[in-house]
C-alpha cells in the first residue's frame, strides 16, 4: 500500500470504519510479504483514535497520561527538520518535505506495548527507517543509531522541570534500525501524526517497549558505540539499552508477564505478554546467543 508524499490532504483520509474493515491484518506480516489473515488478527483490532491520542507518555508535555493531549498543541511542527550526521556519507539538516519526498509511505498495524504493562494496537502510517538511512549513506564501521527529541522549553512545558535530563535520547543497534519492521511514522489512521503522538515524525519499533519509539525526532546520528539512552541514564537497573518486550524479565517494580489493553474500561482483563511483543519470528534472530536477562 503506497501513499503519496506527506502531508496527506483531506482527500486521503480514510473514514475510520472503512479503514477498520480494510485493515485487519496480522501486524508486520505485510512487511515481510507473509500476508493473509490469521488467528492473531482477531487480537489486532486497532484501538480507537481517541484511545491512541488521549492516553500518552510524552513527558515533554507533563507526566500525566492526559497531559500530552492537553499541552502538545503548543509545539511547532512546521517547519521541521532533522539533523542527520555522524558516520554518514551525506550529513546535513533535512527538511521534513525533503525527507518525505519520494519516500514510500505505507500503513502498518502494530501492537504497541508500554513498559508500564499497558498496550494498544495502532495503525501507523510511515516508511521504513532503512530507506532514510540508505539515502544518507551509512558508512562502514557505524554500529548504532542515536536519536533525539525536540527540546524547546517555551513550547514544551514539561521540560521546564527536570523529570529526565533533556533532550530525550534513544538508540538502536544498526541491525535493529535497518530491520524492515522498524519505521519512521508520520501518521495515524491515515491522518497526519497528532502532536501528542510525536508529530511530525517519530520512530516505531514494535518489538520493544514503547519508550524506545522516540517521538518528534530532530536529530539522528550514526555512531560506532552504544549511545546513551534517557531511561537507561536515569535508572539503569530498571531500563537496559535493548528493552525488548520480554514477559520473562520483570521490571524491578512490576511484572512484565501480562498486560492490559487500553480501552477495555474498568473491568478490562489482563492478557499474557508475548515475547518480542509477538514479533519473535521476525526479530529473535538478531539476539541469538545473547542472554536477554542480562541485556534486557
Amino acid at each position: 500500500m503506497r501513499r503519496p508524499a506527506h502531508p496527506l490532504g483531506p482527500a486521503d483520509v480514510t473514514p475510520e470504519a472503512v479503514y477498520l474493515n480494510r485493515r485487519q491484518w496480522i501486524a508486520g506480516a505485510m512487511a515481510l510479504g507473509a500476508g493473509g489473515r490469521g488467528a492473531a488478527s482477531t487480537g489486532l483490532e486497532p484501538n480507537s483514535w481517541d484511545d491512541i491520542t488521549s492516553y500518552n507518555n510524552f513527558y515533554e508535555f507533563g507526566t500525566g497520561k492526559e497531559d500530552p493531549k492537553r499541552h502538545a498543541h503548543a509545539m511547532t511542527t512546521d517547519p521541521w527538520s532533522i539533523e542527520i550526521g555522524g558516520m554518514v556519507d551525506r550529513p546535513g539538516t533535512y527538511g521534513f518535505a525533503e525527507i518525505m519526498d519520494g519516500m514510500p509511505v505505507e500503513e502498518r498495524i502494530y501492537r504497541f506495548r508500554c513498559v508500564e504493562a499497558w498496550s494498544m494496537v495502532i495503525p501507523w502510517t510511515g516508511f521504513e527507517l532503512r530507506r532514510l538511512l540508505d539515502r544518507v549513506g551509512v558508512q562502514p564501521g557505524a554500529t548504532h543509531v542515536a536519536f533525539e527529541t525536540l527540546y524547546r522549553p517555551e513550547e514544551m512545558r514539561g521540560t521546564r522541570s527536570p523529570v529526565i535530563p533533556w533532550p530525550y535520547r534513544e538508540g538502536l543497534r544498526l541491525d535493529e534500525a535497518m530491520h524492515p519492521l522498524t519505521i519512521m511514522a508520520t501518521g495515524l489512521y491515515g491522518k497526519p501524526m497528532p502532536n501528542q503522538n510525536g508529530a511530525p515524525i517519530r520512530l516505531v519499533v514494535p518489538w520493544k517497549y514503547g519508550f524506545k519509539s522516540i517521538k518528534s525526532i530532530v536529530k539522528i546520528t550514526l555512531v560506532d558505540a552504544q549511545p546513551e539512552t534517557s531511561w537507561n541514564m536515569i535508572a539503569p537497573r530498571e531500563y537496559g539499552f535493548y528493552c525488548n518486550v520480554n514477559p520473562d524479565v520483570d521490571h524491578p517494580r512490576w511484572s512484565q508477564a501480562t498486560e492490559r489493553r487500553v480501552g477495555g474500561g474498568l473491568f478490562a482483563g489482563r492478557e499474557p505478554t508475548l515475547m518480542f511483543n509477538g514479533y519473535a519470528e521476525e526479530v529473535a534472530g538478531m539476539y541469538a546467543g545473547m542472554d536477554l536477562s542480562v541485556d534486557f
Binding site: 484501538n47 480507537s48 492516553y55 497520561k65 508500564e116 527536570p162 523529570v163 517494580r253 474500561g265
Partner: protein, 199 residues
Amino acid sequence: MQDAINQTLRRVPTWPVYVLGLAPIPWLFWLGLSGGLGPEPIKALEHRYGVLGLQFLLAGLCVTPLRRFAGINAIRFRRALGLVAFAFIAAHLLVWAVLDVQALSRVWADIVKRPYITIGMAGFACLVPLAVTSTDRAVRWLGAPRWRQLHRLTYVAVGLGAVHFVMQAKGLQIAPLVYLGVAGVLLGLRTLPSGKRLA
C-alpha cells in the same frame, strides 16, 4: 480571630466531613465506568484514591500543629479525617488488587517482591488497628494514654505512604516529592519542644 474560628468550628457538625469526604469514592468509580477517567480508568482510579487517601492523612496531621501554633481547635474533626483517609486507602488497595492485578497469587508476589508495594502495604497495615480503635468505646477500653500511643502509628503510616508515592514515580517527579516534604514538615513539627508555643 482565633476565638471566632473556634466558635464557628464548634458549631459545625462532623457528619459533613464523612459525607463530603467519602463522596469521591463512588463519584470517581462512576467516572471510571462512564469514561470520565480516560481510556485506561483502572490506573487512574487507583491513583486518585491513593492520592486522596494521602491528602486526608496529611490533613489529619495538621490538626495538632494548628492547635499548637495557631490556636485553632479542629480536633473534633480528626477522627473523621482519619477514617475517610482509611476508606480511600482501602479503596486504593482494592482497586489495585481486584481490578488492576486481578489474581491473588500476583498480589502476593508483588507485595513480597516489589519494595514500593511492600512499603505501601506496611503503611496500610499500620492504619488497620487505628481504624478499628477509632470508636469512643475503644478509647475507653484502651485508656487515653495507651490509645494515644497506639495512634502514633499514624506517623509511620504517613511516612510509608509518602515514600510509597515517591517510589512509584517514573523519573524525577515533583508532586510526590512535595507530598513527602509536607509529610516531613508535619512530622517534624511534632518534635519541637512544647514550650515553643507561638499562639
